[in-house]
């Protein structure tokens, strides 16, 4: 019995790539944009806001980070029934990963030397200006590789959108399998596409980490 057919692998490839671009890539790009912005806002709020705001924000982040993304997707899906799955999925991915990225930003901000804050103060810069012009540019430099690894992680979490009936690449591969009763090629190809997308980025990030290391 032939256990691998290149013809089938090539036949399934176009529909997988279409699903990859339309769902996986779109969700990852928009999701990481949400996560990167929201994460930074959370990190700054936790450092500057009074405790009665910072503490609940911290607690909510902790809760989001310690519960599965699958159950969060289902919860949001059944709560906001009028919004389409892809929109909800992207938002849930973004908020979930914002809770991770906030920690990355926090450690990046903590790593900015104290002298920088003092120098900004000595130049009588306003707090907003200090953040914008002094702290964040330096913090970003050290956090970029770590943020990148979370983006790769999100890329590989996009198949979970299938629980709220978004047909992503992996579901597409499964659909092909249930049509033809052969799963080997379609699911393997889906895995290889993930590998082809994530491995070069992770190599690049590792190189970037070495180059940006200052302290």
């Amino acid at each position: 019995m032939d256990w691998w057919s290149w013809d089938r692998a090539i036949e399934v490839l176009p529909e997988l790539l279409v699903a990859f671009v339309k769902v996986t890539l779109v969700a990852t790009v928009i999701g990481s944009a949400i996560a990167a912005v929201l994460g930074l806002i959370i990190a700054i709020v936790r450092r500057t806001a009074p405790a009665f705001i910072a503490a609940p924000v911290h607690a909510i982040m902790e809760f989001i980070r310690m519960t599965p993304i699958v159950i969060q997707l289902l919860f949001v899906f059944y709560t906001f029934t009028s919004v389409d799955g892809m929109t909800l999925g992207v938002i849930v991915l973004g908020v979930h990963y914002a809770s991770y990225m906030a920690e990355v930003y926090r450690s990046g901000i903590d790593a900015v030397p104290k002298g920088q804050w003092e120098a900004a103060k000595a130049l009588s810069m306003s707090p907003a200006r200090t953040w914008r012009k002094v702290v964040i540019p330096q913090a970003l430099r050290t956090t970029l590789p770590a943020l990148g690894t979370w983006v790769i992680s999100m890329l590989k979490d996009t198949p979970y959108l299938t629980v709220i009936f978004v047909v992503d690449m992996v579901r597409q591969a499964e659909n092909y399998g249930s049509r033809t009763f052969v799963y080997t090629e379609s699911i393997t190809m889906a895995g290889l596409i993930f590998l082809a997308a994530s491995y070069p980025i992770s190599v690049l990030l590792r190189r970037m980490e070495k180059r940006l290391a200052t302290y």
Binding site: M66, V70, I71, E103, V104, A146, W150, T162, S198
Partner: protein, 254 residues
Amino acid sequence: MNDNIDALIAALPDLRSGVFITLQLTVGGVVLAFVIAIVLGLAARSPRWPARVPARVLIEFFRGTSLLVQLFWFFYVMPLFGIQLDALLCGVLALGLNYGAYAAEVVRGSINSVPKGQWEAATALSLSPARKLRKIIWPQAWAIMIPSLANLAVMLLKGTAVAYIILMHDLTWETDQLRQDTGNTFFAYGVGMIIYFLISYAMVLGANALERHAKRRLGQGPPKGGLFSVRITDKATTDPKPAANAGSGGAGVA
């Protein structure tokens, strides 16, 4: 609200069996991942290429392809080769291999970050390589790697929710049943998420205790942050040192 409580009480046996499945997946996955992490992590830093290259390929392969792809592979493809696996076993294998590959990088990085003087001192005392690793290097690397491994264990627990996709009756499944019984999404999913949170939190507390124990054995003080601090590090960073420092306590490398 009383209806919800009644439905919850009626659903308790189901929820309990759901939690049991989730815990089985978690424990099985963590044990398998730990074994894989040690084997691959040690092999990946071997100077001999017949050990190093296959380990690197396996690590990159299982990290690079998505967890769900691996799960579907065991679930749909293995039967075509005549290997029919139980759904629970599929879940344990996929979780163990996927997170084991991440953990292998943590093991490798932690061993590498043991100060060089320790290796040299052990060599100077003419300890055998196995003894050197077991008695000198591993206890120190172990204290460094616990926070990162604990994070991966929590991520693995969260990953067990994929079992819902292959129709296993785990906690996520039973939570959704409760939603259908009560018609109250907020209540049902609130219960489900709180249970997941409590399991995660228990795992973090356990890891903190382990870390304190490991550090005491090295004669180092307890990490800052105390019993109830929650620490998060970056699962994909290859070198665990900056990641460990990101947490509240960090791993104090002497």
